[in-house]
Symmetry: C2
Subunit: 250 residues, 2 copies
């Protein structure tokens, strides 16, 4: 087991932010400045091309920490943020840009590359969760959730499927290829988002992935608009979803 | 124009409840006990077999009045609540119970009967809205919303399609027959609910009605479960939808 090493710490506006590494993987842990002991932990997966402190991550963490009193952790995915890109990463990204430029479908490349990243990221997440639960302010008994859209779902679906400590998840905006079969093994409550006018992921594909989850309690939120137009209020909905399942502490 | 006649009034826990009639149609108006002048007005349509003060109506009204400071009005649909049933009503209800008993699809009967009720209910709603807006505490300028599921959608879709004063609506759980064509004329923001395991309305039918709305801003909330298992948290979501579009006053 890798231990967690804190590399920096700051605190502002009721939020304590600590950078860390676990086995060389860099992450960030956001917690309430006070009263955080034993609070639920939400793991968040960032989108493709982004990183652990992207404004979308910091904004969602803020809602979860200040609104619910939860801990929130994000790690950089392989080839993202503060992590080096391999030659394979560079080749896949170049192929994606080439397809985009040529007006070809991005799906097959993104699905293939995300599946490759997930193979590496899932064990990294499990090691990170082990190390986070070894911290006295988190501990092994509190509920754990997962929240990740796009690439965060490509990594999140196999993670949630294989990790019994994760008790609820917010996912969405991904193709069902690769993931649907893993989703069939997931039974925890799910909130899933998709865009009705997504230019990359068809309605049928989005609905097929939602349908695949074996969860008795699952909700789908569809909004009009294109792939990148997911409304901001869905982040607030995700926070309420976790609050409903885990309770709030503030 | 019919005027509104108040027939009884009570007040408890911050909510003022006034029964009224407009042209013989009985209704109820719930308002904040204080500070209600010029507040937005939400018209709510009850479900088939229910009535204006069904617990679902009173509960949603409570959230809207106490949570947002809005006025909320419900009228009994034709043949419902305090209104007499015609021989046609009796025959349709008997046919529905016969189909249910025989295990036949209820859809064709409900679609046909609801369309018949909507023809009468839409002008009743417009007269009620005229009369409500003539009250000094509501007035003609505040935003108006509509919230109705099931039969409340069968009446709500033609009402919203023909009534430019209604600026946002929460609808859902109905077949697209009859309604889809009317929904194509609706452009105001919509939140729409459906049940993923509805034993009466297929997924394709629910999605087709959602798809029909011409609204630039529309959201679909799908939940696992059967027709009658719509989760309670969708009422809270509807309240937030109106608060987002109309602002809150409390």
């Amino acid at each position: 087991m890798y231990s967690l090493v804190f590399t920096s710490e700051s605190s502002a506006g009721g939020i304590r932010e600590r950078d860390f590494t676990v086995g060389g993987v860099p992450g960030v842990l956001w917690s309430p400045s006070a009263g955080a002991d034993g609070a639920p932990l939400i793991l968040m997966g960032h989108g493709g091309g982004n990183h652990k402190k992207h404004p979308a991550m910091a904004g969602r963490a803020r809602l979860l920490v200040l609104g619910c009193g939860f801990h929130v952790a994000v790690i950089d995915a392989p080839g993202h943020g503060d992590r080096p890109r391999t030659a394979h990463d560079e080749a896949e990204i170049a192929d994606l840009f080439r397809a985009r430029e040529a007006g070809e479908p991005e799906g097959p490349i993104v699905v293939r590359y995300n599946a490759h990243l997930a193979e590496q990221a899932v064990p990294e997440w499990r090691a990170t969760l082990d190390a986070l639960q070894a911290l006295p302010e988190i501990g092994p008994d509190g509920p754990v959730g997962y929240f990740g859209i796009n690439m965060g779902t490509a990594i999140g679906v196999p993670l949630v499927a294989s990790e019994p400590r994760i008790k609820a998840a917010v996912l969405g905006q991904h193709w069902p290829d690769v993931l649907a079969e893993q989703a069939e093994r997931i039974t925890v409550p799910i909130e899933f988002v998709m865009q009705w006018d997504d230019e990359h992921i068809s309605r049928e594909e989005g609905l097929a992935l939602f349908d695949a989850f074996a969860s008795e309690q699952k909700s789908l939120h569809v909004n009009s608009g294109r792939h990148k137009e997911l409304p901001r209020f869905e982040a607030e909905s995700a926070v309420r979803f976790f609050a409903r399942h885990f309770g709030t502490r503030s």
